[in-house]
């Protein structure tokens, strides 16, 4: 070994390459700064969203009083006596989201319990990705499905159901959200340490008792966070309601009727391409701002829940 060392001295070579060292120093100093700039793009995006929405929203409120906007039950944005009450949109949004969660929460949670607590590893490995396919289907496909399949089907059960209604897209949104709830809840449950399950099983508990009284409570924060994220998703969902719920600005709680959500309103107004400068145009931003705030609050709640309760055991 010593004889070979005479051939080349790496130590010497490295010393000769001092210049590499200096370039390295420079790169080393520049890279983090450069990456910081890139990383702030996401912040600029947020700022961009907030500012575009805010400016035009403020302008909107100089034309339509903020109180009227948030308490008005009549939304009639076109024509001569336009009225801008956002409540019909808010109820539409909340009702469709409520229907969606009414479908997604029980089914999603039960699927999660099945996958995490009952299913064998093999079944879980097969079923979970298939469920996740549901989440990956474009929403336009669900809209088509709701309008051409679910609504006619429901009309057989509820004859008074209108051809466009909030019930059918609500249910379909729920189906779309099932995998989200199931997958996140399942993650939360499978991260409950096995020792907890063993403790309960060793007391003679059945699988159900273990799941329901030990695992689910222990994973509660993750489960609730998945619900909240699901709601946020439902609130922001656009194409399903646009296609299947129509654009009637009803202020009602009758789910068999057509209602419009905030998202569908945005589609309608931009589809008619509201010209800059009209109140209609500004109303777009006011509604978008309201929508943004709704989902922002939901996302913050979800993050708060999952952070706060992360390390309970």
């Amino acid at each position: 070994m010593a004889n070979q060392k005479a051939d080349i001295s790496v130590r010497e070579l490295i010393k000769q390459n001092k210049s590499t060292l200096n370039t390295n120093r420079l790169i080393e100093a520049l890279v983090p700064k450069f990456l910081l700039v890139i990383a702030t793009i996401s912040i600029f995006t947020t700022i961009g969203i907030v500012f575009t929405l805010l400016f035009e929203t403020v302008e909107f409120f100089t034309r339509v009083p903020i109180v009227e906007f948030f308490t008005g039950t009549v939304l009639k944005p076109l024509g001569d006596n336009a009225q801008f009450g956002v409540l019909p949109l808010i109820t539409g949004t909340l009702i469709s989201s409520a229907i969606a969660m009414f479908v997604a929460i029980p089914i999603g949670l039960m699927s999660a319990i099945f996958l995490s607590e009952y299913a064998s590893d093999r079944v879980r490995r097969v079923v979970k990705p298939i469920l996740e396919v549901l989440a990956g289907i474009p929403t336009i496909v669900y809209g088509f499905f709701a309008f051409t399949f679910v609504t006619p089907l429901l009309q057989k059960i509820i004859p008074s159901l209108e051809p466009t209604n909030i019930l059918s897209p609500g249910i379909v949104m729920g189906i779309m959200i099932i995998p989200m709830v199931a997958s996140l809840s399942e993650d939360a449950m499978s991260s409950v340490p096995n020792s907890m399950r063993e403790g309960a099983l060793a007391l003679g508990a059945t699988r159900l008792e273990v799941s329901w009284k030990v695992v689910v409570p222990a994973a509660m924060s993750g489960i609730v966070a998945s619900f909240v994220l699901g709601i946020s998703r439902a609130i922001g969902e656009t194409m399903i309601v646009t296609i299947a719920s129509g654009s009637t600005k009803n202020f009602t709680f009758d789910v068999t009727q057509s209602m419009q959500t905030m998202t569908a309103y945005i589609v309608e107004v931009t589809g008619g391409d509201a010209p800059a400068g009209s109140t209609l145009y500004y109303s777009l931003y006011a509604v978008a701002m309201t929508l943004f705030l709704f989902t922002l609050i939901m996302n913050l709640i979800a993050q708060y829940i999952s952070r706060k309760y992360r390390e309970e055991y």
Partner: protein, 273 residues
């Protein structure tokens, strides 16, 4: 769990010779083998366990101690790849038969684990969990059970004023005694303990050891331990496992003072392990 057909044979002489006084048997293990997938983890185990005794199981890491003790309440079958042959009788009934209800077995056989594993609930709810799932709902009865169990686990005085607090606020040693209390609450017949003190500090360890001595008056106890001193201190009978086999099983005094197998001697004198 897939039960391989087995031939029940008379008990293998080597492992059960030299037993001291004959008492009632709680468990009887016969020609028992266990595989994880293709790996043989327990080989031809024959081991009687007696009433109101502390039976210690010792042996080096990976020798199959946990596997064996988990077989006694069939927790081992939570591992999907497990296969077994042979038989285990609890109170003269085969616990491996298809018709046997594991939940019932586990109600009579409590278990305490290596790492304290209280539920993330209040102390009270931890203890009441078992009685509740067995249908006891009466608040007064539950109160009594909780107090009795906590007293039984020698931790009542320390926690009686904070029963509503989360069990995770307690120290490791206290948590372990909560787990013991939880297990006492359903009044088991046998208590299985898998290295119950290995995560505890010396003082907590001492308390748990004392408790075990106390409990044996009412319960039969099987305890796995890494710590030979502990086995010597608290057990009546000791089994020495090595590579999935029972090398020697006899009265604790005898095993530690006068082991009959060379490997036992090597192990207890610290030659390996």
């Amino acid at each position: 769990m897939q039960i391989v057909t087995s031939m029940r044979e008379s008990m293998n002489g080597t492992s059960t010779s030299d037993t001291p006084v004959e008492k009632n048997m709680v468990y009887e293990t016969k020609d028992f083998h266990l595989w994880y997938g293709d790996k043989l983890a327990l080989k031809n185990i024959n081991l009687p366990i007696y009433e109101n005794e502390v039976t210690a199981i010792i042996g080096p890491s990976g020798c199959g101690k946990s596997t064996y003790i988990k077989t006694l309440n069939r927790m081992v079958e939570l591992v999907p790849t497990v296969r077994i042959s042979g038989d285990i009788l609890y109170r003269d009934k085969s616990i491996l038969s298809k018709t046997f209800k594991v939940e019932e077995l586990r109600t009579s056989v409590g278990m305490v684990f290596q790492k304290p594993n209280p539920f993330p609930k209040s102390i009270y709810d931890n203890i009441a969990y078992g009685p509740r799932i067995h249908g006891i709902r009466n608040k007064k009865v539950l109160d009594e059970i909780v107090e009795k169990s906590l007293r039984g686990a020698a931790i009542w005085d320390e926690v009686k004023d904070r029963l509503k607090e989360n069990a995770y606020g307690l120290s490791g040693g206290q948590q372990q005694r909560i787990c013991i209390a939880r297990c006492l609450a359903i009044e088991p017949d046998v208590i299985l303990m898998d290295e119950p003190t290995s995560a505890l500090d010396p003082i907590s360890t001492m308390k748990v050891e004392e408790l075990v001595q106390e409990l044996k008056k009412e319960y039969s106890i099987v305890i796995v331990t890494h710590n030979m001193q502990q086995a010597a201190r608290i057990s009546d009978r000791t089994a020495f496992f090595l590579n999935g086999e029972v090398i020697e099983y006899t009265a604790t005094d005898k095993l530690f003072s006068n082991p009959s197998d060379k490997r036992t001697e090597d192990y207890i004198t610290g030659r390996f392990g």
